[in-house]
């Protein structure tokens, strides 16, 4: 049986997004554009593929727009760097292409459930405290972009964002939730632990705690909602952010719908610009 959608990935995207594994784990839906691997980098393969996979280095929006012009119905961007997406949005809407972003934490499959849990309590939030860790040597700005993407995915827009401190070992950013409760985002650069992010929102009588792992493996995130009656652990999902991104893409391609990824990313980019 032939896969439903053919895939072409640049070598950089193939590595960064673990594309071979993701595609191989969805064999009925995706397959390489030509016999061989999903990462066939030839121009012929790229022009023939249904889905183009790009690394999110600066300039990715122009690359994605070119891929759409070339006929790609779906675009996967791995670890997108903050930049304006307005032209790409227009190209995607004009051509009916689906652009999904594969973000290390924000794309974790546990995020929708975590978002529901957080939004259900956000009006009563007393504080939000989040810590992201990444290996020593990682750029603070790079970590903050991933960190903020994950947090605002759950909380929505944070107001009054301000860099309290930033340096070679991390950063502290302060802000406010919509109800005025204080929010604090701390980045720690250390190779001691696996990279990941924890997000804790407390209310007067409970709260939500979320941990999101890196997509290097299908480690499950944890989402716990705590209230007066006890604590609920949402079902653990042994699926990486990479694979969850591909599943979302398939759903949009099948249904002909447009993902909200670029709209969300535009808001994130605006927040990051205000911080820098």
């Amino acid at each position: 049986m032939s896969p439903q959608y053919t895939v072409h990935a640049t070598p950089e995207a193939r590595d960064a997004g673990a594309v071979d594994l993701a595609v191989a784990s969805l064999p009925a839906s995706f397959g390489p554009a030509e016999a061989g691997s999903a990462a066939d980098g030839s121009a012929a393969a790229g022009s023939a593929a249904d889905v183009a996979v790009l690394p999110g280095q600066p300039g990715w929006t122009a690359e994605a727009a070119r891929a759409i012009d070339g006929g790609a119905r779906g675009i996967v961007v791995v670890n997108p760097a903050p930049e304006s997406v307005s032209d790409l949005l227009e190209a995607a809407e004009t051509n009916g292409s689906a652009v999904v972003l594969d973000q290390r934490w924000a794309s974790n499959p546990a995020v929708p459930g975590a978002e529901d849990a957080v939004r259900a309590m956000a009006g009563r939030a007393a504080v939000l405290d989040s810590v992201a860790t990444a290996p020593a040597g990682t750029g603070s700005g790079e970590l903050l972009a991933d960190h903020l993407a994950a947090v605002v995915r759950l909380t929505g827009h944070l107001e009054n964002l301000r860099v309290v401190a930033s340096g070679a070992h991390g950063y502290t950013v302060s802000g406010r939730l919509a109800n005025g409760a204080p929010a604090a985002l701390q980045g720690v650069l250390s190779s001691a632990r696996p990279a990941g992010v924890s997000i804790s929102m407390l209310t007067d009588d409970g709260g939500v705690s979320v941990t999101l792992p890196d997509p290097l493996a299908a480690w499950p995130a944890t989402v716990k909602a705590t209230g007066p009656q006890g604590e609920l652990l949402l079902p653990t999902l042994y699926e990486s952010a990479h694979r969850a991104t591909w599943r979302r893409l398939k759903e949009h391609l099948d249904a002909g719908t447009s993902p909200s990824d670029l709209h969300r990313f535009a808001a994130l980019t605006a927040s990051l610009s205000a911080l820098s």
Binding site: V164, A184, S190
Partner: protein, 363 residues
């Protein structure tokens, strides 16, 4: 009284102040140490409280410090009175020739008093320890034995405290009498905000500031970057020194789920210490070290830091251990005071209450 005669070789304990901390923390801890210590005298300015609490343990009771310090049955003294009385009571206990003194935190309220106490301790030879219980927790001590050079190499330190109201855990520990009344603060009042931050640092953060200081060699250069309150009671405080980032978090709300952690990170190692709640006899903290793909866990052990304090006091009274350096106690105190004062000063400097204080308020 029969029980006391049966354990005559144990050290006699006198306690100044019989409020919730004495009732819910120290008496249950001492109940686990009957082979070492016996409560012989309880003093409280409220005669009914003194009598009631003393009756629980078959001890003598009084309403005056002189009566307790003059009681020959009392070998060691615990000072659990309001902090403004600590200095004079610690000094009096030393001058009374007791074998050792445990003073609840905050030790005193200024460095001058701390220095005066240290001088009296040296003069009289009476060892003093401050009830920073986490520094006596076997989980912390296990971490200390295994942390290698982490205090020198750490660049980031976090203290995070989420607690229900004290009453929840007090009620697990004992049946409290004389619980202080509480009200709803006016969050629009700058003095209330300052009071909350000061109280948060000297009443809550102070539990772990000695731990933070242990990982902060340049603690004297601490600077407050931002301080905000968390309702109904808590704080978000960002500090830094030339070599360290320090983040303090606390929230006291109505949750049943406590979390009390201390973390320190270097480029290649980290430790996280999860403490058990105060008041309950839930054993020690657990220390978890992470070093690039390797995780090692120490604990939990069967007793907490409060019991650890009493064990330490017993050893000091017996001359089996060396007392902590006076400078150490003074440094712990001045570190906390510096942070509290700089935080309050920063709020003063920021006339817009409710907004973060301005960066660069030096302690």
């Amino acid at each position: 009284m029969t029980a006391n005669h049966a354990v005559e070789r144990t050290l006699g304990v006198g306690i100044l102040g019989a409020g919730p901390v004495t009732q819910a923390i120290h008496l249950p801890s001492l109940a686990r140490l009957r082979n070492l210590l016996t409560v012989r005298h309880i003093m409280d300015v409220d005669a009914a409280v003194a009598e009631s609490v003393a009756a629980r343990v078959g001890a003598t009771h009084s309403t005056s410090i002189e009566a307790l310090l003059g009681d020959p049955e009392v070998d060691v003294v615990a000072i659990c009175s309001p902090h403004q009385f600590h200095a004079e009571q610690v000094i009096a206990a030393c001058r009374a020739g007791k074998k050792a003194v445990l003073c609840e935190k905050p030790f005193v309220w200024n460095a001058e008093e701390a220095a005066e106490i240290s001088a009296v301790s040296q003069e009289t030879g009476v060892p003093i320890i401050v009830g920073a219980m986490h520094t006596f927790d076997p989980g912390w001590l296990a971490a200390e034995a295994n942390w290698g050079d982490l205090p020198e190499t750490a660049h980031t330190i976090r203290s995070s405290i989420v607690l229900p109201p004290n009453a929840r855990f007090e009620d697990f520990a004992t049946e409290i009498i004389t619980r202080p009344a509480s009200g709803t603060p006016d969050y629009t009042d700058a003095e209330v905000i300052k009071g909350m931050l000061r109280g948060g640092i000297m009443g809550l953060a102070i539990h772990d500031l000695p731990l933070v200081r242990r990982f902060t060699p340049d603690f004297a250069l601490v600077e407050v970057l931002e301080a905000r309150i968390v309702r109904p009671f808590g704080y978000i405080i960002s500090l830094r020194t030339p070599t360290r980032t320090i983040e303090l978090r606390a929230a006291m709300n109505n949750t049943w789920k406590p979390e009390w952690s201390f973390e320190a990170f270097s480029n290649d190692a980290a430790v996280r210490i999860d403490f058990t709640p105060s008041y309950v006899q839930a054993g020690s903290a657990t220390a978890t070290f992470s070093r690039a793909g390797e995780t090692t866990v120490h604990g939990p052990f069967d007793h907490n830091g409060y019991e650890g304090e009493w064990r330490e006091l017993t050893a000091l009274a017996a001359g089996a251990k060396q007392p902590p350096s006076a400078q150490n106690l003074i440094d712990d105190l001045t570190f906390a005071l510096d942070i509290a004062e700089a935080t309050v000063a920063a709020v003063d400097a920021d006339h817009n209450v409710g907004q973060p204080v301005r960066e660069g308020a030096h302690a």
